[in-house]
Symmetry: D2
């Protein structure tokens, strides 16, 4: 019997990618699609790549419209999920693709988002220690941010294995879809093609506390995070270059062994063969994570690089993966590890 | 029972896209993979986006290696398919993704390809009149060229409906993957990013006789074709801008009606709603064709624009679609009309 | 003694390119800079590539601000130039980079622009027959549109030499800067990277009557123009693929000879050696026009392809070139034929 | 009286950019152009953007051909400069754009380049302490590497002012032209568009010892450098994201003050206003360096980001700037701080 899913926020990039995945999911039937500012419009005009849904009309995001589904995905602006979720009832699986329920630290939420903290839901990054168990059977899922997905999967094994000192330096470049579909001058094609530019430098990006939360949990001690996000001239993809001081006595072999062990059984995270480095093009449209590690003995640092598709594993694919776990389906159902390349 | 498929030429762009599609095809089991200059290498190093096949080793392209499969796909350089095909026996389905068996006119073959004509196989563009019937049960398929796919689907309804005069002017821009994976200076990223440049201008491109063949068949009379291909700064996609003089008495409504009728039941060709124009991004990685028509009364021309993914519908997706028909499977099995966008 | 120049509309792409050229112009001193919606802002925030002017503050576009200059460049929205120009007095050189004064046919203006026709000024495409003489000493210049520049320079020699029939088919791809700096969803980097899409198909683009005007003047008879503009994934550049039926008896040699003659003494238009084709990257940031011709005997068509930088020769460079002529300076002063490549 | 300049290696990207700058240099006359594998070819076929030199023919790189010039620029593969330079005589200014004479530490040279060390020449990064004086009147100049230019200008003021601890973490993304013009599979447009991928991770890149040399000199103590270069989907530009632990008591004001002081009088290095971040597009084709600083108090790190054009300030522009100093010309002659944008 099909799982009936509604998508609130179907006109944006996250919503569109989610629909692409749900259309290919053998257990899901797509129900209501909502999008407030675009309510009444056909999806074909807003998401012209989703031809099977071209004739569907967007509705308003109301409890009535979202009622009667097994799963409701929320792809809403930050701060709007809590009000919608509480009207949906405790038996509906609510998968929040926004930030509202990711952080455990209310003070950090308020500092970075400027509004009261709504709470904390099971965190939809199953590869983290303990996360998969918390998702099983849960009716609420907080999908991680795209940067925290790429960075946490790059660095947590080094912290979990006790190899890395408690500071991390992260420089991560993202494709422009991470900035959303609302038109702004600096996101124009004329501005981004041929250009790289940082933003939120110096700790200001909202994903900083989420990264800190994940790495500190893996380490068991507070990890100090320097995070610089960069806008890159590509529509999709995150390449995260992460490093941490190696603890005394660490060897290249120990680093590699920690990653081999951490990812031996993970269906989506691939530690590449030595000598091969992640490329965002290789995971385009896929739920795969490519990871590679190095130990720079001269600099005394462990360097880990990961590549994901920010819209797939970084958002909508992660949401589907978590939905599968929450519903007791095979975790990989409807997801692929093949990128569309070149 | 699974269809066992071999791929000769698995290291190139066409071979890689084919493998991506076959991996998602529920009826196909992937058998031997060959690639002469790369024989002995792991696929993971050559096609890093195909993680499920990363450990597979390429073999030499020999009759022995290709034996024992239900289907053999040939993604070989032009002129090499005939020798391989004749060693495979008449009971194996051979799908040739090269040009060798596309043309009916031996003289045109020799003029454009400079070698003896190998013959003519059923043409793998099922949407053309009569093509689907010829493919059913066939053991040989000639997959069309990427430009002829885009152009023929744009223009044949106008000719079949008797609306267009017998000359056509075509300007089609292609992503760089159409030029293949062999490194050449003009294909370097440094050269192609930010640049558009034509090639094969004035009738010299090898796809010219194939386009002429298809349009003339639709018209019932020889069609004179002016075809200018352009290299565009994108990895995939073809946007074909095609026009022909309208015959006397043609109206915009008649043009639209002809296309609505031609494509009403086609699973992959979508005539867009009026006012919406094809975009290559919308068909990225998909087997869909987006088509739109206009009638320019002042200029007296019918203008038809189509967008395809040159590697999917233009090559590997077209090959799978034809295989499905030849084997009696549902034509759409393993194929999607959803693009990966943005 | 320096020529003192004001720029109205200094915050947009055309204004920015003009300032880049004027800063390098040895005879020009940059005076007032205006930009209504951005008045009061520093140029450094709006045009971060123009470091020498980073501290300059934009003013309102008023007659008082624009008074006291030798030259006033207008980079304003269509329809606003006439009102500003008439307040500037007859002794000031006014160079209008908008469309207001380009067309000779008031009916065509009204049909395409929907407002009363303001008049016709000397046309700033000096390479056209008679245009240079009309610009000499003129106090008013209408800078051509970017597409008409590329297309007219591609086709007028064929018409002027009587080689081409009176219909032309033009497909021209433009970089995104041609669409301006106002943020719109379809111009987002996420949308344009990796995508090509047409617009204004079927004769609807406002540059159609301007192209028709130029080609008809060259031909001496009305030329019927089919013009399809395409948005391409690059920030700058136009590649125009233009063709026309060859008149009876035309030969490839005659075509080439006509172009060699037309451009033998032109400082900015370069007919490329046979076998070499224009590329937009080669004219990036330069005032050069690359042109190549072919005669497709089988199709009976003359094909001419040109590449320009839409912001330089297509707008601001053309404006400076015309200013030079109007002021009696050497036509090439401050301009280059070298592109920034790769 | 003009300075007569020869360019050895005129067919590559560095040589092409140098010629573009020299053509615009008012004091330079371009003499012999050489390019071994392309000797005998016209420059127009190899550098189609340099129209003024299209007819020039490349010669062999021999002492005879290079004789009789005031300046000889060497844009040769690493390891070839010494042999050429010693045949040119002590009175000719030799500007080496290769790596041969950059390093002071012979052991580091041999470890990273695998050949005997040729020596050390005055280092062509005039903004470094003492560098300008060493260049004045010198007959030999070693032009810095592109990454060391971007990184050293980002970090040396923090070290020179005693603000930063002696380890630095650097992640720098470069456009593809930095990898040169020799065609290799991973540099194909199909591979690089839409993709980011690191290389030389873990200290293996040859620019690591050069960066270490510059930062250690500024610090007065050995600086440990972790350097990760990344290939980015753009033809030009380097964005260097650099950080170092702040020494105790450092404040944001102190950091900013150090950079304001360091760059107050530099013609090419621009510390951006607070709130504005470097973008590679803003320095496209220019000799400018955009720099911005942040102090991340929570992470305890100074973060400095710089943007350059790898071919201009990073190679050919830096070469011309140093030539100007060596010859006693104004340092900015023939160079611009304006980028070609958008």
């Amino acid at each position: 019997m099909a799982v009936r899913a509604a998508v609130a926020g179907a006109s944006g990039y996250a919503g569109g990618e989610l629909l692409r995945l749900l259309l290919a999911h053998p257990e899901v039937e797509i129900g209501a699609l909502t999008g407030n500012s675009n309510a009444g419009q056909k999806l074909g005009a807003l998401q012209p790549h989703l031809l099977p849904l071209a004739g569907r009309v967007l509705q308003e995001t109301t409890p009535e419209v979202l009622a009667g589904h097994d799963v409701v995905f929320l792809a809403l602006p930050h701060g709007q999920s809590a009000a919608v979720a509480e009207r949906l009832g405790p038996d509906v699986l609510v998968v929040d693709m926004g930030a509202d329920f990711r952080l455990t630290d209310a003070a950090a939420w308020e500092r970075f988002y400027g509004s009261p903290h709504a709470g904390t839901w099971p965190y939809g990054l199953p590869e983290l220690p303990g996360a998969r168990a918390a998702l099983e059977g849960s009716k609420r899922v907080a999908v991680p941010g795209c940067y925290p997905t790429a960075v946490s999967l790059a660095l947590f094994p080094a912290y979990a294995a006790g190899l890395a000192g408690n500071e991390a330096v992260i420089v991560a470049a993202s494709g422009t879809s991470g900035a959303g579909k609302a038109p702004k001058p600096h996101l124009l094609g004329s501005e981004v093609m041929g250009s790289m530019t940082p933003y939120g430098v110096g700790g200001g990006h909202r994903h900083t506390p989420e990264i800190t939360q994940n790495l500190s949990a893996a380490s068991g001690e507070p990890v100090s995070v320097s995070f610089t996000p960069i806008l890159a001239p590509m529509p999709r993809g995150i390449l995260a270059t992460c490093s941490a001081a190696a603890k005394e006595g660490v060897t290249a072999d120990a680093v590699r062994a920690a990653y081999e062990k951490a990812y031996a059984d993970e269906p989506f995270v691939h530690l590449l063969p030595e000598g091969q480095w992640p490329a965002t093009a290789s995971v385009y449209g896929s739920n795969a994570v490519q990871v590679q590690v190095a130990y720079d003995e001269a600099a005394g640092r462990i360097i880990v690089i990961s590549a994901i598709d920010n819209l797939t594993k970084g958002t909508a694919g992660g949401a589907v993966q978590s939905m599968n776990i929450a519903l007791g389906l095979d975790e990989t159902t409807g997801l692929t590890t093949m990128g569309v390349a070149p």
